[in-house]
C-alpha cells in the first residue's frame, strides 16, 4: 500500500485552480521530490495532505487514512516553507512545546530533544532564544522539529533554503539516514541539484497538474546515447555501423550513437579502432534534473492551454478514476 496517494486531487482558491487533478503515489521508504515553479501548487498539495487546507475534491490518502485527520498527523513531520517560530522560545523549549503537542512523554522529550539538536548541529545554542538564531540555524531547528518524533512520513518544504553548503550536506546525510531507517520523505524544493542527489522519484507540477513523474534516473536517462569525436579530418564509418544495426547520426563535428539494450559501446569502440581511427572523445549523454525541468517547463509553456473543465466534468473525471480503481481491485 502506498504511504501517500492522491487521485484527481483538485483545489480551487476562488477563481484560481491551485491543483487541477493531481494523481500520485509515494511508496514506503521513498524520497519523493515535487518540483515546480512558485505557485505551481506544491505547497497546496502538502497542506491538503496535512489537513491545513480543506475544501478539496478527489482522493487524498496518507498512511492508509484520509489525509489530514488528527490521528494521521501524529505520524507526520513537517517543515513548512517560510516558517516562523515563536521567537520567545529557545530552541529547546520550542521542541519541548511541539513534542508535548505531539503527545510525547516528558522523559522521551528530554532524551530526544538534545539528541535531535545535536544531529542538526545546533545543540550548543539550544538554550538561546530563537530570535538570536541565524536563518540557517532556524532551518536546522525546523528540520529537528519535523523529525524529533520519528515520524513515518516527513514533508519538507524547501528544507535546505538558507543553509550553507556544509549544512546542506549534513541535511542530505540526515535524510538519507532516515530513508535507510524506513522513513518516507516528501520534498518540495527549488534546489534541483539537491533533489537530484537524494530523491528516488520526482514529479514536476505545473499550473496544478503533474506533467512528468518518475524515477530520476529514468527521467534524466539518456542511457545508450554516446557522443563520439575523432581526430580532426577523420570520419566515422556511419554506413558500416548502420549496417551493423547501430543508430548513428552526426551532431556538429561529432557523432551521436544510440544503442539498443542488446548493444554495447565497447563493440563500436573496437570497430572504430579496427579501422585505424583514434578516438578523441567519448561521453555518455545525460540530462541534469535542472535541464529536464527546464525542458519540461519550456515544452509545456508553449503548449496551448486546454479550456478549463467545468465542475461537473471534473467530478465526472474523479468518478471515472475511482471506477477504474475499483475495477482493478475487483
Amino acid at each position: 500500500m502506498p504511504v501517500l496517494e492522491t487521485r484527481a486531487l483538485r483545489k480551487q482558491y476562488g477563481e484560481i485552480e491551485a491543483l487541477a487533478g493531481v494523481s500520485l503515489k509515494v511508496d514506503e521508504g521513498e524520497i519523493y521530490g515535487l518540483l515546480g515553479q512558485n505557485g505551481a501548487g506544491k505547497t497546496t498539495l502538502i497542506k491538503i495532505m496535512l489537513g491545513i487546507t480543506g475544501g478539496w475534491e478527489g482522493d487524498a490518502m496518507l498512511l492508509g487514512e484520509t489525509a489530514g485527520t488528527s490521528h494521521v498527523r501524529s505520524r507526520v513531520g513537517y517543515l513548512p516553507e517560510d516558517h516562523q517560530f515563536p521567537d520567545y522560545h529557545t530552541g529547546y523549549s520550542l521542541l519541548d512545546f511541539y513534542g508535548e503537542l505531539l503527545g510525547l512523554a516528558s522523559s522521551s522529550r528530554s532524551e530526544l530533544i538534545p539528541k535531535m539538536l545535536e544531529q542538526v548541529g545546533i545543540a550548543d545554542r539550544m538554550d538561546y532564544k530563537i530570535r538570536t538564531y541565524s536563518k540557517g540555524m532556524k532551518q536546522r531547528l525546523g528540520i529537528a522539529q519535523a523529525l524529533m518524533h520519528r515520524p513515518d512520513v516527513i514533508f519538507l518544504d524547501e528544507p535546505t533554503d538558507g543553509v550553507d553548503p556544509v549544512g546542506r550536506r549534513d541535511i542530505r546525510e540526515l535524510l538519507l539516514d532516515l530513508k535507510k531507517r524506513g522513513s518516507t520523505i516528501f520534498i518540495n524544493s527549488h534546489l534541483l541539484g539537491e533533489v537530484e542527489l537524494i530523491c528516488d522519484r520526482v514529479a514536476i507540477l505545473m499550473k496544478g497538474k503533474i506533467i512528468r513523474e518518475g524515477e530520476i534516473k529514468t527521467l534524466t536517462r539518456q542511457e545508450g546515447q554516446f557522443l563520439i569525436g575523432l581526430a580532426p579530418g577523420k570520419h566515422l564509418p556511419v554506413t558500416d555501423l548502420a549496417s551493423m544495426g547501430y543508430d548513428v547520426s552526426p551532431v556538429e563535428d561529432r557523432w551521436e550513437v544510440r544503442l539498443r539494450d542488446d548493444q554495447n559501446i565497447d563493440a563500436v569502440v573496437d570497430f572504430v579502432r579496427s579501422r585505424g581511427l583514434n578516438l578523441r572523445h567519448l561521453v555518455e549523454k545525460r540530462q541534469t534534473l535542472e535541464e529536464l525541468f527546464l525542458e519540461t517547463h519550456d515544452g509545456n509553456e508553449n503548449k496551448p492551454e486546454k479550456p478549463r473543465e467545468s465542475k461537473r466534468e471534473q467530478s465526472e473525471n474523479v468518478k471515472v478514476l475511482k471506477a477504474t480503481d475499483e475495477d482493478r481491485a475487483s
Binding site: 489537513g51 491545513i52 488528527s70 515563536p86 520567545y88 512545546f97 511541539y98
Partner: protein
C-alpha cells in the same frame, strides 16, 4: 497535557512582553504600599461616638449600600423636629479599657432642635415635604427618640458587630433627654472600632472611622483601579496571542499537530485567562496577605474577586479572540475589545439610569405626584431599548457590583452570608452569569467555526 503545553506557551509569550512585567511591578508596589499601612485603635469614646443617631458615621457606613434604609430613616425623622445625639460618657463595665471585646455603658444626651436645623437637611435624597417650613413640626415622643438612638446599635447587633444589651431613658428636662445604653463587645467588634490609619508609622490625622469601613474603602479603591489596569494590560498582552499564532509559517506548525483546531483555539483562550488569573491572584493574594497580617482581618471573600475579575476578562478576551481569529490583526483586536468594553459599560450605565428613572417615576406615581403613563421615561421606547440591550449583552457592571459586595461584606462582618443584610441590589446574578457565559460561548463558538473551516 496538550492543554498545559499551550498554557506554558501562552505564559512564555506573556512573559516575553514588558507590559506583563510592568503590571507585576505595579502590583508589587501596591502590595508594598498596603504593607506600609497600619491602623491604631482609638479610645472607646471615639468608637462609641460613631453610634450617635441615625445620622451617625456608623449608621452611614453600615447602611451605605442600602439606600432604602437611609431613605426610610430620613423620611421618618423628617416629619418631626430633629434630634441631636451626643455621647457624654463611656463607662467600662467589664474587660480591659478601650478593648473591642469589653462591655460598656454609654450615657447619651438627646437634644431636640428647632425647625431651622431641618431646613439644611435632605433625607435620603428625598426633598423635605413642601410645607415643612410653613408649619411647626411636632416634637418627637420619648419612644421615637429611643428608637432613633438605638437604631445604629440595632444595626450593629443584627450583624453581630456588638451585642446591644439595653437602652433606657434616665432623665428628661425640657427638650433634653438623657439615655443609658449598655453594649457588649463581640469577636466582631474590632471591625467597627474607630482607628487611625498610619503610613509607614506616620499617622494620617483627621481620619477616624470604623476599621472595617476604612479597609473596605482602601481595598475597593485599590482593587477597582488595579482590576481596571490589569484587565486593560491583559487585553493588550493577550491580543497578541491569537494573531501571532495565526502568522503564516507559525500556524502551519501547530495545525499539523494531532490536536483539533477548536481545541487549539480554546486552549489558547484558556491560556490567556490563566495569565490574567495568575496576575490577579498575585495582586489580590498579596493585598489579602499583607492586610491580614497588619490588621488581623482576613478578608477571604475578597479572594473570590480573583475569579470575578478573571470572568470579567474572560468576556473581553472572548471578543478579542473572535476578532483576532477573523482579522489576524492585533491592533484591530485591541481596539474592538476596548470598544466592546466601553459599550458594555455604557449599556450598563444607561440601564441603571433608566431603571432609576423608572423607579422614581413609580414612587412619584404611588404618592399621587406621577406623570401620566405615556409621558414616563421608564416606560418609553428608550428605556425599553436599554432593557433589551442590557439583557443581551454581558453584565460587566454586575461583576463590579459583586466585587464591591464581596469586599464590603468581608471587611464589615467577615461572613459572606451577611451580604443581603448589608447590600441592596436589583442585580440578578444568576441571569447575569448565564447571559455573560452565553456571550463567551457565542464568541468562542464563532471563532472556533471560523478557525476550523479557514484554509491556512
Amino acid at each position: 497535557m496538550k492543554y498545559f503545553a499551550i498554557l506554558k506557551d501562552s505564559l512564555r509569550e506573556a512573559l516575553d512582553s514588558t507590559v506583563l512585567l510592568v503590571l507585576w511591578g505595579l502590583s508589587t508596589l501596591v502590595i508594598v504600599f498596603v504593607a506600609l499601612l497600619s491602623f491604631s485603635p482609638q479610645p472607646a469614646e471615639e468608637t462609641m461616638g460613631q453610634f450617635m443617631g441615625p445620622d451617625s458615621r456608623f449608621f452611614y457606613a453600615i447602611n451605605s449600600h442600602k439606600p432604602e434604609v437611609m431613605m426610610a430613616e430620613g423620611s421618618k425623622q423628617a416629619v418631626h423636629r430633629p434630634v441631636r445625639f451626643n455621647l457624654e460618657k463611656v463607662t467600662l463595665l467589664r474587660g480591659d479599657a478601650n478593648s473591642p471585646e469589653s462591655d460598656y455603658e454609654l450615657t447619651i444626651t438627646a437634644k431636640i432642635e428647632e425647625n431651622a436645623a431641618r431646613k439644611k437637611m435632605m433625607h435620603g435624597g428625598m426633598p423635605e415635604p413642601p410645607d415643612a417650613e410653613k408649619k411647626k413640626l411636632p416634637l418627637p415622643t420619648d419612644e421615637q427618640i429611643i428608637k432613633w438612638a438605638r437604631s445604629p446599635f440595632d444595626s450593629a447587633d443584627e450583624l453581630g458587630l456588638l451585642k446591644f444589651e439595653k437602652i433606657e431613658l434616665t432623665a428628661s428636662v425640657g427638650g433634653s433627654k438623657t439615655l443609658r445604653v449598655v453594649v457588649l463587645g463581640t469577636s466582631r467588634t474590632h471591625r467597627i472600632w474607630a482607628s487611625h490609619p498610619n503610613i509607614a508609622g506616620y499617622p494620617l490625622e483627621g481620619i477616624s472611622v470604623p476599621l472595617g469601613f476604612q479597609l473596605y474603602n482602601l481595598t475597593s479603591t485599590v482593587l477597582a483601579i488595579g482590576a481596571w489596569v490589569a484587565v486593560l494590560a491583559g487585553v493588550v498582552i493577550t491580543s497578541f496571542f491569537i494573531p501571532n499564532m495565526l502568522r503564516k509559517g507559525t500556524i502551519d506548525l501547530l495545525l499539523v499537530k494531532p490536536i483539533e483546531r477548536w481545541m487549539l483555539l480554546v486552549y489558547k483562550y484558556i491560556g490567556g485567562l490563566s495569565f490574567i488569573f495568575l496576575s490577579t491572584a498575585y495582586a489580590i493574594g498579596g493585598i489579602w496577605l499583607v492586610l491580614g497580617i497588619r490588621t488581623g482581618l482576613w478578608a477571604n471573600g475578597a479572594l473570590v474577586m480573583i475569579l470575578t475579575i478573571t470572568f470579567f476578562f474572560a468576556i473581553l478576551y472572548a471578543v478579542s479572540t473572535l476578532v483576532g481569529v477573523v482579522t489576524r490583526s492585533t491592533v484591530t483586536a485591541i481596539m474592538v475589545t476596548i470598544g466592546a468594553w466601553f459599550c458594555f459599560f455604557v449599556i450598563g450605565q444607561f440601564y441603571t439610569v433608566m431603571t432609576t428613572i423608572d423607579r422614581g417615576e413609580k414612587m412619584m406615581a404611588e404618592v399621587g405626584m406621577g406623570k401620566p403613563e405615556e409621558q414616563r421615561w421608564g416606560d418609553g421606547y428608550i428605556a425599553k431599548s436599554a432593557r433589551v440591550l442590557h439583557f443581551v449583552t454581558p453584565r460587566t457592571g454586575d461583576l463590579n457590583t459583586l466585587n464591591d459586595m464581596l469586599v464590603f461584606t468581608d471587611f464589615m462582618t467577615g461572613d459572606l452570608r451577611d451580604m443581603p443584610k448589608l447590600y441592596s441590589t436589583d442585580v440578578n446574578f444568576l441571569e447575569s452569569l448565564i447571559v455573560s457565559t452565553l456571550w463567551i460561548a457565542l464568541c468562542l463558538g464563532l471563532a472556533s467555526l471560523w478557525f476550523t473551516y479557514k484554509d491556512y
